[in-house]
């Protein structure tokens, strides 16, 4: 079912949701755009073709999260699972919503449920903003996803002229829009043909067929040394990545808290072992890990590529490393040349 929301009614819609929900939307923070609680219509940036700089995964997996509080010397631990107020996350790009579904396979499976993740997922209605103007750095279709994909969304907006066409995808999503007029059959066709056209016009950045096999074969190749040479070893690519989820648990003893912080395989200390040994001692192994995790190990686990093509790592890498170019070159490395 597709409903129609006139653009000029959006302000009032968001305001009315704010009565019952915490509403998050991409808004201007400094000179970039970020998901923050909805304050002002004029600061909204969700129509910008590019994504928010900081990924919305942080709304489900905060960079720093208190897991437990304890009282010193009393041997008491108290789990702190804070159920958030019901919330609407508005204007999530399909790549980022897709990423959240990939993270569900880590934090919310039949065998393992992370309560901190689950309460935030359950409390959220996610409304997607389809991408009518994909950026130069976007490559979602290359990795098997798309600019109007539905995964992880409760409703998806397609913007045409002065109207938002809202495809309702779940019951949760439906609850927000039933008061709106439905689109006509012709309008529905128009929406779907636009979606298809945009998708088909996106260039394919690299070939993914047999990519995993190719990468696995060059695990020991000198290629990794070459591409890691300019890598600074900072955490920009992984912290801004919507699918990276690694974390580190620390005790902040002065506050009596056990805390989960994002961590990244790009840091030396990430893989540093207590013995002093480090299985990923140089940038060579660490750069390889980032690419292999997304393009090989995710496939081992769930059969999907663990990169949704949002392009943040491409845009914000301080040395201009482009994961698309890295993958392209990697697929052309001759696997029989093993130098190690």
């Amino acid at each position: 079912m597709i409903y129609i929301l006139e653009k000029k009614e959006l302000d009032q819609t968001l305001t009315s949701w704010s009565e019952n929900f915490d509403v998050f939307a991409p808004q201007k923070v400094e000179k970039y755009s970020q998901f923050v609680p909805f304050k002002s219509f004029s600061e909204l940036t969700f129509e910008n073709p590019h994504n928010t700089r900081f990924p919305p995964k942080a709304l489900f997996l905060p960079q720093t999260e208190v897991l437990q509080k304890y009282r010193p010397n009393l041997n008491q631990l108290q789990e702190v699972v804070q159920t958030p107020k019901p919330r609407v996350i508005f204007g999530v790009r399909p790549c980022d919503a897709q990423a959240v579904t990939l993270l569900d396979t880590v934090f919310n499976t039949q065998e393992n449920v992370d309560p901190y993740w689950k309460v935030k997922r359950d409390a959220s209605i996610v409304i997607g903003m389809g991408c009518t103007n994909p950026c130069q750095t976007c490559f979602c279709t290359t990795v098997g996803y798309g600019p109007f994909n539905h995964d992880g969304l409760d409703a998806l907006i397609t913007e045409i002229d002065e109207k938002y066409f809202i495809e309702v995808l779940t019951e949760k999503g439906k609850s927000l829009f039933t008061h709106l007029p439905p689109a006509t059959k012709d309008q529905e066709l128009q929406v779907h043909s636009l979606q298809l056209e945009v998708k088909e016009n996106m260039p394919i950045a690299f070939e993914t067929k047999n990519l995993k096999q190719k990468l696995d074969k060059i695990f020991d190749n000198d290629y990794w040394q070459t591409i890691s040479e300019s890598c600074l070893g900072c955490g920009v690519c992984t912290f801004l990545c919507p699918t990276c989820f690694c974390f580190d648990i620390v005790d902040e003893v002065q506050r009596n808290e056990r805390i989960r912080n994002w961590d990244t395989c790009m840091f030396r200390i990430y893989s540093q072992e207590a013995s002093g040994h480090n299985p990923r001692p140089t940038r060579r192994e660490r750069t390889r890990q980032r690419l292999m995790h997304k393009y090989s190990y995710w496939l081992d686990h769930i059969g999907k590529i663990g990169c949704t093509g949002c392009g943040r790592c491409v845009r914000y890498c301080p040395v201009g490393l482009d994961i698309r170019a890295m993958i392209r070159t990697a697929s052309n490395v001759k696997s029989e040349v093993i130098n190690d």
Binding site: C234, E252, L321
Partner: protein, 317 residues
């Protein structure tokens, strides 16, 4: 290739032909013309993708500490980079005899974020002829003025010419005006204490602790940074106000007498956090209190790394 790039290429070819270096660190063209990448040439065969323009935003001195002291490295250096190299030589991070500095007087680095703020993200192509810079936005050519695009650190640059380079390509430029650095420090000092703290907090608390500032800085070469130290832990590792402020203030203090104001930290930061207002003040203190400016030669120890029998205060001796 423009004239400067051709000269640079010829010089690098000569270095390989005459077996002067094992490796040359320069910049190369990447897929996006707006994001040239650091390049590591081991021989002259790959030099066709050599690139040099104002978008080359990294401080290449950063990479010296990643190679053994025995590697003979040729490196392209602008003013700030040459001073970083000198400072690293003083700190015995690479022997000067195994370095060959190819100096280029620098008109300042163009800040890609400033282009994007003016044109939007969908900017493409990039040409630069003297001070005329043009890009393409949605198929249309847009002319931009270099002075609107220079990175803040470059607007305050005092020494654009390389110091101590083995060869200098291009014409030397006039020195910058030191009072411009003062203006930046002054505007911070003009605030009262609570305003200054609010400013510091506002900048520090956007930090996502990716440590791009640290990794982009040539002087941050410790194998174990204080924030990574586990026993004892010196700071909180979470994105708490205390942890983020500790990182920013201690990072700055560790740069005292070592920072060359290249601004690589700010250009690397994904959250547009300002950091040079702290190091610029420390640099000024070094000049006024100790008559020391980082990297003007490759012999003088920074004040906080040296001691003398006739030091004013004798707390060490």
């Amino acid at each position: 290739m423009n004239e400067l790039e051709r000269k640079l290429k010829t010089e690098i070819e000569r270095l390989f032909d005459e077996d002067i270096v094992d490796l040359v660190i320069a910049f190369k063209k990447a897929d996006s013309p707006l994001r040239p990448q650091p390049a590591f040439y081991k021989n002259k065969a790959e030099l066709d993708n050599l690139n040099y323009n104002s978008l080359c935003q990294n401080n290449l001195a950063n990479y010296l500490t990643k190679y053994p002291h025995t590697t003979r490295i040729g490196v392209v250096v602008r003013g700030c980079e040459s001073r970083s190299v000198n400072a690293l030589v003083v700190e015995k991070q690479h022997p000067r005899e195994n370095l060959y500095l190819i100096g280029i007087p620098c008109k300042g680095i163009v800040d890609i974020r400033k282009i994007i703020n003016l044109t939007g993200e969908e900017v493409n192509d990039y040409t630069e002829i003297d001070d005329e810079i043009s890009v393409r936005v949605n198929g249309n050519k847009v002319k931009l003025d270099r002075k609107d695009l220079l990175h803040d650190s470059c607007l305050r640059c005092v020494h654009p010419n390389p110091t101590n380079s083995d060869v200098t390509l291009g014409d030397l430029l006039p020195e910058g005006d030191p009072s411009i650095v003062r203006q930046a420090v002054e505007s911070f000092e003009a605030m009262d204490r609570s305003e200054r703290y609010a400013w510091f907090r506002h900048e520090a608390e956007r930090c996502i602790r990716c440590y791009a500032c640290r990794e982009a800085c040539p002087m941050c070469y410790c194998t174990e940074c204080f924030v990574d130290h586990a026993t004892p832990r010196w700071t909180e590792s979470s994105v708490s106000p205390a942890g983020m402020q500790a990182w920013h203030i201690i990072r700055a203090f560790h740069q005292t007498g070592r920072c060359t104001s290249c601004g690589a930290c700010e250009r690397a930061c994904p959250m547009d956090i300002k950091m040079t207002y702290l190091t610029d003040k420390l640099n000024e203190n070094m000049i006024t209190k100790y008559q020391f400016e980082t990297g003007l030669d490759d012999k003088t120890q920074p004040p906080f790394a040296s001691f003398n029998m006739d030091d004013k205060k004798r707390f060490i001796l």
